[in-house]
């Protein structure tokens, strides 16, 4: 797009969405997770992260009297809001306008990007700073801005690191969790003009980023942040951070754009408080983050700083389709990341294996719903169904059940492999024919009772599963039915004798 020439957001063509984190990457979960398991640096980084989050969360929960009641209140709020979503969205829009801001509506991620480009272009923006926003990750906004010749800088330290590394986030709250300190140092040495400076400890790395990003904050023409909640009653966006980057992004540039999805709206500040109470505790194990900020429009005549334009862009991206569907519960997600931190699969393979912006259990549900099940059919199967995600989810989202439903849908849509379908059909037929079923169990038992045959099966037939496992040994006297029949016969003959 040529800068300076106004384009209509409807007609303008954009670079393909997710050019780097292409959604069909989710197709390669199996291959990518195998790679991840063999990547020593990644495993080292994951190991360091593991445990920390789990411990901090459980401490934070132990510190309050009744966390279950906190969860209940938060869930009450979300259930009620989703039941009246249209009302609260309308109220939010009205009140943002009352505060002097603008609300825009985007059905698709492309439309979101187009609206932002349109605003940037109208303000002749050359540089943009960004606070953390998963919505802009959904839209791959950075690529769209760069293609339009706009300099874009992620300001959350984790996001900044992965932007330098040209990688997608691997965690929804700690996007660079997969990077070791040495990797970050190498990235900074490569991209910053460092001279003789030492960067051999974490404090020095953080200071280096602070120095570099400070200037970016001051120079930016437009600031884009996400929102953890939208408050219908006051027309505000609530942004939660620890670094303060969201606040600098929202305060220094002349234009502040908030990107948020439609389900982020809550009725009022009292409702927001209930969600705040579970959000940070579940995410980082803090009672509240360093900064919880409410942005409600452009600065007034009296204000000495702040932007002169305030926009909120509301993205749908399949969410209105989830509403009222069996997957509605997923709209209660507050993106705390607890389900990722507690997932054995995520902890083993990291976030990139999931192929799109949302990893872990919540990603395994969201990615198929947003990018299509066909493109991500491995994801609902990337679960051991251990149930820890549901247990720790502050919003009580039944993640395993939703994954199960996706597996079902996969089967119904004929997306499962012919092998699976064939075996399932065969199994169904088998259990409906007792004679056949008994014959099969009999044969299987005989094989399992014979160690040579078992070894042969493990080594040559069932190789992919049993190369690292052993088949169960069976030293029983027969199948259940055989033993039962034997037993009945004996009893009968005893009765006859007596």
């Amino acid at each position: 797009m040529k800068p300076g020439k106004p384009t209509s957001p409807e007609t303008q063509s954009n670079p393909p969405i997710h050019s780097e984190t292409s959604s069909n990457q989710a197709l390669f979960f199996k291959a990518k997770s195998s790679e991840a398991l063999l990547d020593d640096t990644l495993q080292q980084a994951l190991k360091k992260a593991q445990g920390g989050f789990i411990e901090k969360r459980s401490q934070a929960i132990a510190d309050v009297e009744n966390f279950d009641s906190y969860k209940q209140q938060a869930q009450l709020v979300k259930n009620h809001t989703l039941d009246h979503l249209a009302y609260y969205l309308t109220q939010f829009e009205e009140n943002v306008t009352k505060n002097g801001g603008h609300v825009h509506w985007a059905s698709t991620p492309e439309q979101l990007n187009n609206i932002i480009l349109h605003i940037c272009e109208r303000r002749d923006a050359k540089s943009v700073t960004k606070g953390k926003s998963m919505i802009s990750e959904e839209a791959n906004l950075n690529a769209a801005l760069e293609a339009a010749g706009i300099d874009v800088t992620e300001t959350d330290l984790g996001e900044y690191i992965i932007q330098l590394a040209k990688e997608p986030p691997s965690h929804i709250i700690v996007p660079a969790i997969h990077k070791t300190r040495q990797q970050v140092e190498a990235l900074f040495r490569e991209t910053h003009d460092l001279g003789e400076r030492d960067l051999d400890n974490i404090a020095a790395l953080v200071d280096e980023a602070r120095l570099q990003l400070r200037q970016k904050f001051l120079d930016a023409d437009v600031g884009i942040t996400g929102a953890n909640m939208l408050i219908a009653d006051t027309g505000s966006a609530m942004v939660v951070t620890n670094e303060g980057n969201g606040d600098l992004t929202a305060t220094l540039p002349k234009v502040h754009i908030v990107t948020a999805s439609i389900e982020k709206v809550v009725p009022d500040l009292e409702s927001a408080s209930a969600i705040l109470r579970v959000l940070a505790r579940s995410a980082t194990g803090q009672p509240i983050t360093s900064y919880t900020s409410l942005f409600s429009g452009p600065s007034g005549i009296e204000d000495l700083d702040g932007p002169d334009e305030f926009h909120v862009i509301l993205l749908d991206n399949q969410r209105s389709q989830m509403l009222g569907s069996p997957f509605e519960d997923m709209l209660k997600c507050i993106k705390c990341g607890a389900c990722l931190n507690h997932c054995p699969v995520y902890s083993a393979v990291g976030g990139h294996a999931y192929g799109w912006v949302y990893p872990g259990p919540m990603g395994s549900v969201l990615t198929p719903l947003m990018t299509g099940l066909k493109q991500s059919s491995d994801l609902p199967n990337a679960s051991t169904f251990c149930g820890r995600c549901e247990e720790v989810c502050p919003m009580g989202i039944p993640l395993p059940e939703l994954l199960r439903q996706l597996r079902n849908k996969e089967h119904e849509d004929h997306l499962t492999s012919w092998k699976t379908r064939f075996s399932l059909k065969g199994f169904m037929w088998g259990i409906q024919h007792p004679r056949v079923f008994h014959w099969i169990t009999k044969t299987l038992r005989m094989i399992l009772a014979n160690s040579v045959l078992t070894r042969l099966l493990e080594k040559h037939v069932l190789t992919s599963w049993y190369s690292s496992k052993e088949l169960p040994k069976n030293y029983s006297k027969g199948t259940f039915m055989e033993q039962y029949q034997q037993d009945s016969k004996q009893k009968k003959s005893k009765q006859k004798k007596s």
């Binding site: 992260a49 330290l157 620890n242 500040l269 409600s296 000495l304 509403l323």
Partner: protein
């Protein structure tokens, strides 16, 4: 300034609402009634104590002050403790009782008025209220408290009247009595200095905002 997105927004808005309304969630013309919510309760007689213990847990420091006139000296001491340059940005002076200036700035401090530019080492603000539940200080953007002072300085000192401590998050909102159309541009609930754990999950203070946060707790009512 209105932007030329109106038609685009109208069309999209309609599409999104149609999809929402097609489900069971129909748009109700009148306000739905939100279920009542429980708030955590705290011992009112121990609010200051609870507040200060939570505040300390967030890596902030505090000291009690019984007279505003002591503030300049304490600010100077704080600057010396952190060995920073003695540049201070604040906009509190014009808001103090002019009949009786409560403080004199020592010459050692070099004072500037907001907005903060990023060159000032210390920022001084006033919190209208504080939350015992979380140990947070609440600052509303205003002429008196410009937001940049909270985020662009290296060290942030905040004055709070002890009687402005409220029990929980909800009572703080109530105290601010906010309504659409009359909102401060920004409200910052600040709990400790800026921090990050983005590198190897190691907590590091001073990511983008202040490296330290210090509270001056006024035990006598101030003239604000």
């Amino acid at each position: 300034m209105s932007i030329n997105l109106n038609r685009f927004n109208r069309v999209n808005r309609k599409k999104i609402f149609n999809r929402i309304e097609r489900t069971k969630k129909s748009a109700i013309p009148q306000a739905p009634k939100r279920p009542p919510l429980l708030h955590p309760q705290f011992d009112i007689s121990a609010l200051t104590e609870i507040f200060l213990s939570k505040l300390s847990a967030s890596s902030s420091t505090y000291q009690s002050v019984d007279c505003l006139s002591l503030v300049p000296q304490l600010v100077l001491q704080y600057a010396e403790k952190y060995n920073t340059n003695k540049t201070l940005v604040t906009n509190l002076d014009p808001f103090l009782n002019s009949d009786e200036p409560p403080w004199d700035w020592p010459n050692a401090l070099s004072l500037s008025t907001p907005p903060a530019t990023g060159n000032e080492a210390i920022g001084l603000s006033y919190a209208s209220t504080a939350i015992a539940e979380t140990g947070s200080l609440v600052l509303s953007a205003s002429k008196q408290n410009p937001t940049t002072v909270n985020f662009l300085t290296d060290h942030h000192i905040i004055i709070l009247n002890e009687q402005d401590i409220v029990p929980n998050i909800e009572s703080m909102w109530k105290r601010l009595s906010l309504s659409a159309g009359n909102m401060p541009r920004a409200i910052n609930i600040i709990t400790g200095p800026s921090r990050t754990a983005d590198i190897e999950q190691t907590i590091q203070l001073g990511a983008h905002g202040p490296r330290s946060l210090h509270l001056l707790l006024l035990t006598q009512p101030s003239p604000y």
